[in-house]
Subunit: 336 residues, 2 copies
């Protein structure tokens, strides 16, 4: 790494985040669980297979259309467990509060967390609160870690991806990123773009029941659909092709992105995931997703091609083919 | 709660922290695991009893005599699991970094975390990195959550404390708080006061093997020995008496406190714990502790008296008796 200081892009979920993990954390912390570089660690304790994950939430603003830092902190961690095939059981909650933070805002956030936890069927069983002096943090940061239980008999991992696999996306992209940006910058677009923040645990449970051939899942958070598919292509060493025209996107989000010159492919989502499954099961999995509240707009967007060089190719709407790399910069900081 | 804003004391581990938990978090998150208000949650998954805990670390300065924010983030969480009787298996690590944070400092911290994890026999299996813009955080905050496995056949909890129990402390108090304060304020005391930050997992394993009658354990971190004994008296509804003259304290720390008018009873520790055990086992447990690296200065400091009103009475060195309440203010902020 050439830079001698942390950049915003180190937290963007793209190229520099990957470098930071690969060059700083992995060599020193190395173990088989961490090495998988999935959304969570998977291990066996006693007679059960468990998964374990963590995320810190630093989103700004803390209240946004469609959610707040509290609901996001529940959904994000529940979703990371779901991507491992895990049913969320227990969460921890660690709060870092800035001196002077309004108690009414804390009430609102804690109420929102409790409601989100209830909806996702998970309990917050342990916690911690730190307070730092005024100016040492920006209002509130929340960390949640989670433990889930995995009943799916087969491994769910990017290493299970096979040529021929179908790639299914559960709905429209860019809603969360656009909602945050519109609110933060007071851009004043009158369209009512809402974050898609949602718990995907129920949807994942339905998918896993529907097919014994689910190979990999990942939620398209920081860096958006573009970053995660580029990463999964690299990790699986498979070529992935996606048809741009098949990717669902709201008209408001498309318009918002066009005006600002943003690529929705790299805008964050907080309730969107991709599923890699055996081609023979794809229609069935798609139907199950479309029948679920958080998969109504699900679409089959692409396919895994040959093993070899891991590349993500987007067949564009106008008939071209564009290779997508992990984003090098930070499109929208403090998005989650 | 009368205040409408978060105060530093809400993070101090004393009265206001307790109120925040009791009035804000517990009513909304309520469940039997959280309600215990121990250092971690204890539950059974499959055929194993597990414990789960979290802590965020915001210590300032990040490097201090005897440790740094990295080693502290490992020791603190390993110790919380140990206090539940748990052997640490897996940790998560969540980093919040400020834009511009020096990469060399991050290297030093990650190296220190890896060494501390190795010493404690625990693996960091999942993580997360967020970067916030310059000014939105103070350098680096670290959250660790941990999963441990409990093999001890009996419950270890403040609710197991019984009249007659002996109270054993594993060594000198106030070292961490004094080390941080001396460094932070450039007080220039030439004495070499080091933080006592250490993993207590090995010591706890030895204690649990030595006695089947360990009732409760707690580490004396924020708020110091005074805060945790006042809290345990209240939670157990037992009267606790401690002889001040028996509490080990380094001469340098005593002198430091006298000059600054601080009470070492409320200074934070990061490698000190109290053990409540059946009186008949106390001598044996004490001997086992004294034979361990992190229990050399262990001492029997007090006893549990009758059940009834939960009070913590300190028999002072000059022959008086002083009732100790949970501290109302914040003696040293950003201590851990």
């Amino acid at each position: 790494m050439n830079d001698d200081r942390i950049l915003l892009a180190h937290g963007g979920g793209g190229l520099l985040t990957g470098q930071l993990i690969a060059e700083k954390f992995l060599p020193l912390f190395r173990n088989p669980y961490l090495e998988r570089l999935e959304d969570g660690a998977v291990f066996t304790i006693g007679d059960r297979k468990l998964c374990f994950t963590t995320d810190s939430y630093v989103v700004h603003p803390i209240f946004f259309p469609g959610g707040d830092i509290g609901s996001l902190a529940i959904h994000g961690t529940v979703n990371d467990l779901a991507m491992c095939g895990g049913k969320s059981l227990f969460l921890s909650a660690g709060f870092i509060l800035e001196e002077g933070f309004p108690m009414t805002d804390l009430d609102r956030i804690v109420t929102s967390m409790a409601a989100a936890a209830k909806q996702a069927g998970v309990q917050i069983v342990t916690g911690d609160t730190k307070v730092v002096p005024k100016g040492a943090a920006d209002g509130i940061f929340i960390n949640t870690a989670g433990i889930g239980i995995i009943d799916y008999p087969k491994a769910i991992s990017v290493t299970e991806i096979r040529p021929g696999d179908a790639i299914i996306l559960n709905g429209t992209i860019g809603d969360h990123g656009a909602a945050i940006l519109n609110q933060r910058e007071n851009l004043g677009f009158e369209t009512d773009i809402l974050s898609d923040s949602a718990p995907l645990s129920g949807l994942v449970e339905a998918i896993l029941q529907a097919s014994p051939h689910i190979h990999a899942m990942r939620d398209a958070t920081r860096g958006g659909l573009g970053a995660i598919l580029a990463e999964m292509a690299e990790q699986s060493q498979c070529m992935i092709t996606v048809d741009e025209a098949r990717i669902p996107i709201r008209e408001e989000v498309r318009g918002f992105c066009e005006i600002l010159g943003l690529d929705p492919l790299f805008l964050a989502n907080e309730g969107k995931m991709v599923v890699f499954c055996a081609a023979g099961d794809a229609e069935n999995v798609l139907a199950v997703m479309q029948a679920h509240e958080y998969g109504k707009d699900a679409a089959m967007i692409g396919r895994v091609q040959e093993k070899g060089r891991g590349r993500f190719i987007l067949n564009t709407a106008i008939g071209g083919a564009r290779e997508i790399d992990k984003p090098a910069g930070e499109l929208v900081p403090r998005i989650c």
